[in-house]
């Protein structure tokens, strides 16, 4: 029976959000809040693991009270328990402090075998938190997961990256980071969608997590954002002339130049 923790974050849907052209900041009112896409793949990984090996999946989210909507979505997908880590003192925490808070909260939940996170969030795209969380928890951190099995207290993981394939065996507990390439997220069942919004979840505040206000939020965060810029991407048109062979060669050169073809 595995105890599996999955981290899930509520983010503004940046694909639909508008940005302040002066500051480059997201206009949060312009976008709906959604579950971070990579985190849904993390939930799927956790649920598959539970379904294969037995156990319980606990979803944990750090954020303001409205992040409970994302936990309801996790319930609809099939997790067993949900925890909201929320305190005004946590507001403005950078990725390092977020990792610290999540590690302390997970530490209070008791024994666990596997922690699963999304690889990165679409609001900041730092991809820091899973690495920092693994450091705080002292766990091996595995990415690029293609397949996974649990055998004798170990995770046997197939990894695929670029043109390479790797099969590794890691002692539990372990931290796994999922991306959209890891799996295909299930659609929740209507029965679960109907009932998920009324389910209870645990709330952990700073008093439960431990520590003091000066460790958290803006005060405790070493990261300083100096500036933000919005990049405008424009498309160009280019014609390759010559014989068919020359055109193919020209195309290959350009693809290599832009690192689209590497070999």
């Amino acid at each position: 029976m595995l105890s599996i923790i999955v981290c899930i974050k509520q983010v503004p849907d940046t694909n639909r959000a508008s940005f302040d052209p002066r500051t480059g900041a997201i206009n949060r009112a312009s976008a709906e809040n959604i579950a971070n896409p990579d985190d849904l793949h993390a939930v799927e990984l956790a649920l598959k693991l539970r379904d294969a090996c037995g156990g319980r999946v606990t979803a944990i989210s750090m954020g303001p009270p409205r992040a409970a909507d994302t936990l309801a979505e996790a319930y609809a997908l099939g997790v067993d328990d949900c925890v909201l880590v929320s305190d005004p003192a946590f507001a403005g925490s950078d990725s390092l402090v977020t990792g610290k808070i999540l590690a302390r909260a997970i530490g209070k939940l008791g024994r666990f075998d596997v922690v699963v996170t999304g690889f990165e969030a679409i609001d900041g795209n730092t991809a820091h938190v899973s690495y920092q969380l693994s450091e705080f928890l002292g766990l091996p951190h595995i990415t690029q997961i293609h397949d996974l099995m649990i055998e004798d207290g170990h995770a046997v993981i197939e990894r695929l990256y670029g043109h390479e394939y790797q099969k590794i065996r890691v002692e539990l507990p372990v931290l796994l980071a999922a991306t959209r390439n890891t799996n295909r997220v299930r659609a929740p069942r209507l029965a679960d969608l109907k009932s998920c919004t009324g389910k209870d979840f645990t709330v952990m505040t700073m008093a439960d997590v431990g520590g003091s206000a000066d460790e958290y939020g803006t005060a405790g965060s070493p990261t300083v954002v100096i500036g933000t810029e919005v990049f405008a991407h424009s498309r160009g048109r280019e014609e390759i002339r010559g014989t068919t062979d020359e055109k193919v060669e020209g195309l290959m050169q350009r693809l290599k130049k832009h690192n689209i073809l590497r070999y």
Partner: protein, 600 residues
């Protein structure tokens, strides 16, 4: 390339502000639903539509079903989609809890079906057909038959169909010839042919379960001799294994649109071994079939509105990006060209589409809410709601279907030559839309249903019930600044409608039924425009109310709503005066025209 096929914001507006779906959740039947779960369900439908349906929308058209001689090979994306729908509980979502369903309000279910149909209409029909067949099985089949067929249909393994039409019996179902020969073994032997059967055979399902109309040998002629049977392609044998039931697929039509779903020809009993299992009582098949016909016809209107929605957003996206010409007062050719949406005539075409799409959607959602309210109402209120639904059903089916063709044509017009090519999706939308005035009862049949049955039903009770609803909206709008002129205009048009109806009924009173029904389709067209004007007035009221609060919809959206309402009243509603004139002047002259007059 087009990426948007419906507006989430508009769908929420219609559900929450115009038709107030939340009122349904106060009833015990729907108490397990909430605003939050509604949102999650809509989001889930969006995810399925974006992930599994829209990406293969064009491909399913370019690689249509292929008849192999025994079965029909459909696009490989169909099977995983149906499995996903089954796994999620969508196939029996609206059925009661005690039958294993989710008792979902049809209002919400139809909103989700709108999303699916806008993403990929052909794909959306596979589970929808099973749902329709399943509802008849639950209503009329014995417990034994339910236990045999329902579980595999709910699981998406077996496809359900409606097998009504025959080569010589389409609109005229009283001429059904497929025959059921009684046996003493608990089943009938079926012999005959069916045609135009949607998903009547395909390789994405393990079995096909036809809900088939047939005439028991010796039954009375006409509609009173038609019975309803379960006729599976494969029947469960004594050992539980499936054995062939002598239902042969003899062909698959090549259609102009809606090409991702196979429309089949079937031959039953070529080896005298096709078994059919009677549902309910003998000779009551057509009345059983009509239990689900209202909802089937609402579905057709829904599908047409959804396709028109997708075409509208494709043309809107193009109109915002395509640079062509300059504003009419700009004479300097050195000035840069402007997006075509800056041209008034293009905006008119976009407004026309929006008026049709959002007016139709509002009507479809309202029809779903009527079904839900009927399921929880009692006594006189239930009867009143049933009357409103009865008279609206031919309009819900026809207005979106007929105007969906006009709307998708306008989408093509916005794209000009590109719209006429298959480089852009709008030509496919127009082809996909064309089936809707035909299937589930043609426009001609709907016109006769409206004027011949619904108008005269229970001494005009349905007309009175509808007028009651429309007049309540008019009264509410008259007290509002900015809406009163539209309320007056609708009131005036309603008086005209009643006069037209009165004149038509005079033919009926004189026993001239042929003249009474000769122009029924035109009467239906006129009624449809009035009903959509009413839906726009409802949306205008809702937009004004939403604008008073700090609304998540945004000022531009709400102002756009009011402007589209204004467009409808100024550009579309006046057509009723022309139609009234036609109906008054025609004297049903088509009755006197003989086939010989079409000589050369």
């Amino acid at each position: 390339m087009a990426t948007k096929f419906y507006s989430e914001k508009n769908l929420k507006f219609v559900l929450n502000e115009v038709h107030r779906i939340g009122e349904l959740f106060k009833h015990e039947r729907f108490a397990e639903y909430s605003a939050e779960s509604t949102q999650l369900i809509l989001d889930t439908a969006k995810g399925i539509a974006n992930g599994m349906m829209f990406p293969v929308f064009a491909e399913m058209d370019k690689k249509p079903p292929e008849y192999t001689g025994t079965t029909i090979r459909v696009h490989p994306a169909v099977r995983p989609f149906v499995e996903k729908m089954a796994d999620g509980g969508w196939i029996n979502a609206v059925m009661p809890y005690d039958l294993g369903g989710q008792q979902m309000p049809l209002t919400l279910f139809n909103a989700c079906m709108f999303i699916f149909a806008a993403a990929n209409y052909s794909m959306s029909v596979y589970p929808g057909l099973t749902t329709g067949a399943l509802s008849l099985i639950y209503l009329f089949a014995t417990k034994e038959l339910q236990d045999i067929y329902a579980p595999s249909m709910v699981a998406g393994k077996w496809q359900g169909t409606m097998a009504l039409t025959e080569p010589e019996a389409g609109s005229s179902l009283s001429d059904v010839r497929t025959t059921a020969f009684p046996t003493d073994k608990g089943y009938y032997l079926i012999k005959g042919q069916k045609t135009f059967i949607s998903a009547g055979e395909h390789d994405a399902a393990e079995n096909i379960v036809h809900l088939m109309l047939a005439r028991i040998k010796g039954a009375p002629a006409g509609v009173k001799g038609i019975s309803l049977f379960i006729v599976p392609r494969h029947r469960p044998g004594a050992d539980g294994k499936l054995e062939f039931n002598d239902v042969n697929c003899t062909g698959c039509y090549h259609k102009m649109g809606y090409r991702g779903s196979p429309i089949t020809q079937l031959a039953m009993g070529e080896s005298d071994d096709c078994r059919g299992f009677l549902l309910g009582e003998a000779n009551r098949g057509l009345s059983y079939m009509f239990h689900m016909m209202n909802e089937a016809r609402i579905n057709v209107g829904l599908g047409a509105a959804a396709i028109a929605s997708a075409a509208y957003y494709a043309s809107l996206e193009y109109s915002r990006e395509r640079l062509q010409g300059r504003i009419i007062t700009e004479k300097d050719p050195a000035k840069p060209q402007i997006p075509i949406i800056e041209h008034a005539d293009v905006r008119r075409m976009l407004l026309k589409q929006r008026a049709i799409v959002e007016g139709s959607l509002s009507l479809v959602v309202y029809a779903g809410k009527l079904v839900d309210l009927i399921s929880v109402a009692e006594g006189e209120e239930k009867t009143r709601l049933e009357m409103v639904l009865e008279i609206l059903t031919p309009i819900v089916k026809t207005y979106p279907s007929e105007m969906g063709i006009v709307s998708t044509s306008q989408a093509i017009q916005c794209l000009g030559g590109y719209g006429y090519s298959d480089e852009f999706p709008v030509e496919q939308y127009m082809r996909d839309a064309r089936i809707h005035p035909i299937h589930e009862g043609t426009t001609g049949i709907q016109g006769m249903d409206l004027l011949g049955r619904k108008v005269t039903m229970k001494n005009g009770a349905a007309v009175k019930a509808l007028l009651g609803e429309m007049n309540a909206t008019i009264a509410a709008a008259k007290t509002r600044e900015g809406l009163a002129p539209y309320a007056d205009e609708l009131e005036k048009s309603l008086a005209l409608w009643q006069a037209v109806m009165g004149a038509a009924v005079q033919y009926a009173l004189k026993g001239q039924i042929d003249k009474f029904l000769a122009d029924a389709s035109i009467f239906l067209e006129l009624t449809g425009i009035l009903v959509i004007a009413w839906q726009w007035l409802l949306q205008g009221i809702a937009a004004q109310d939403a604008a008073k609060e700090s609304s998540a919809y945004g000022a531009d959206f709400l102002q756009g709503k009011l402007l589209t309402m204004e467009y409808f009243f100024k550009y579309e509603l006046p057509a009723v005066y022309g139609l009234e004139k036609i109906l008054g002047a025609s004297g049903a002259m088509t009755v006197a025209v003989k086939p010989v007059h079409f000589e050369d």
